[in-house]
Amino acid sequence: MLTFLAGLFGAVPAVAQKVAEADDHALSDAVGALFQKHYQKMTPEEVQEAIARITRTAKREQGVDITVATDPPLQGVIFGYALNISKCKGVRRCVEACVAENNQGRESQIQYIRVLELEKGDMNLNDADHYFAPELVPQPGKFYMPIQCLQCDNPPCVIACPVQATWKEPDGIVVVDYNWCIGCRYCMAACPYWARRFNFSQPKIPKEQVNTDTHYLGNRPRPRGVVEKCHFCIQRTRKGRLPACLEACPTGARVFGNILDPNSDIRYVLENKTVFRLKEELGTEPKFWYYTD
């Protein structure tokens, strides 16, 4: 009797394996993704299992082979970003580059960066035109200010999240664990800068446009019903590369770097140029500055 039961229970894992492989792990991946732990609480082995689920799902559903990195934050690095509004001409190449780099849904038209057109002399963001589409930019009498997640040091979205699916990493980037997010969108209500986007539908990307270099906390394929936002191209910046928006800007208006390094570009801008941040009075301490020449 005991040996029979032992044999039965011993056979269960093998049976489960056979069942899982029959449909290419679709059910086990879905169940595993639902019941996996919070990213900060997973052991390295569990993280690797989660990554295996993600890569299998991407292969099965979209037919692409992706790599999911888990680069930890670099020591002695806090990222800062500055944008020169004297140089920004509202070309919106940054928006396109971000969408190409970060695997956002194309049908849902999710764009992390929103370029605002304001009359010169007007700093009231409610007056901004988000949908400007003239023949040529810059239009006379206007200036342009792109907004994306400003990676606050005192982020209201982190305080608002009821399940702690979003948190601030030691290198300053505010990240989201997409498997832990429940899609309540409290963070979207809390963010004063309209930085967060919600996947109302399943993100669909044409196969040849998928960026296969991904990071677990960054641009890996997201499911429907989670919130996402700019993450300073975490898959690039933690490897030492520049964010896609910076590289695409044709006027060189963007400056990125480590604000703890006294010799970095961003430190020069913060020390020597006229810098300001949006909505300083709220005390969110964003790490995204705007400056003028």
Partner: protein
Amino acid sequence: MVPFALIVLLGGAWGLLGGKVPGDGMVPRLQAAEPTSTPVRATPPRNKDDIELEQMMKGRKAIRAFTVRGQSIAEAPPFKVETRQDKMQFYPCTNCHDNQFVDRRVRKLTEEHRELVFEHGGGRFWCYDVCHNGRDMNRLISYRRQPISYDESYKLCGQCHFERQKDWVFGGHGKRLGAFAVPRNIPEKYEELKVADRQAIGTWQGERVVHMCASCHNPHSPAIKPYTPSPPPRVRLGLAPPATRGAPAPKPWQKPGPSKGGAPAAITPVSKAPAAGAPAGVKP
């Protein structure tokens, strides 16, 4: 009581350990930019002219050529620039110019260099001897009559644009070479921009390799020309696009002032009519 203390202790320990999350080992820092096919040279290469000028400028901290920390461009962190001479269409110039006959007349060029539009300095510049050296056409010339190589042409620009040169040297102006490195002729289509010029991997750390002034600014008409913008974001499903904004209501400084010598005109309240379509508060 004891569990609370335990939580505080463990939380503190986690924070002290850097708050790292489990994952791969530390990724080593990039040591240098990947070897580029664009030749680069270390800068600033300082010849005796540069050293003499630096000595002369050393005591003068009050002017705008120094950073808040008191650094001049000679004390900037080292960086590299891409070379320019190998990209010039007509270099070496002595293929045509013989360095002996110099036509200094201001005229419309009809034989060569016809495509150039001279807008620099509001059109008040002429070739000799502001930038080009009639006796040594393979190099530029400074106002002090020091020859400047085309690979160091930023020194020429920095004679007048010294504040911008300071910004460029320290990183507040210009761009690093990168995957989307943008030369002067910027393609209109985003697809072309994406694959063009993947020579160096743009990095925020490690070696700093930057574009020269002339990579983005045509020295003869340096102002950046207007672009065709990429399409605007889509309006949310079910909402109407915002009504076309007419001229906004004039601000107080835009209205005609009060007549002199009389009582100031009454300030009329400015009321902004809400847009007919989606209200201004609607955001993504």
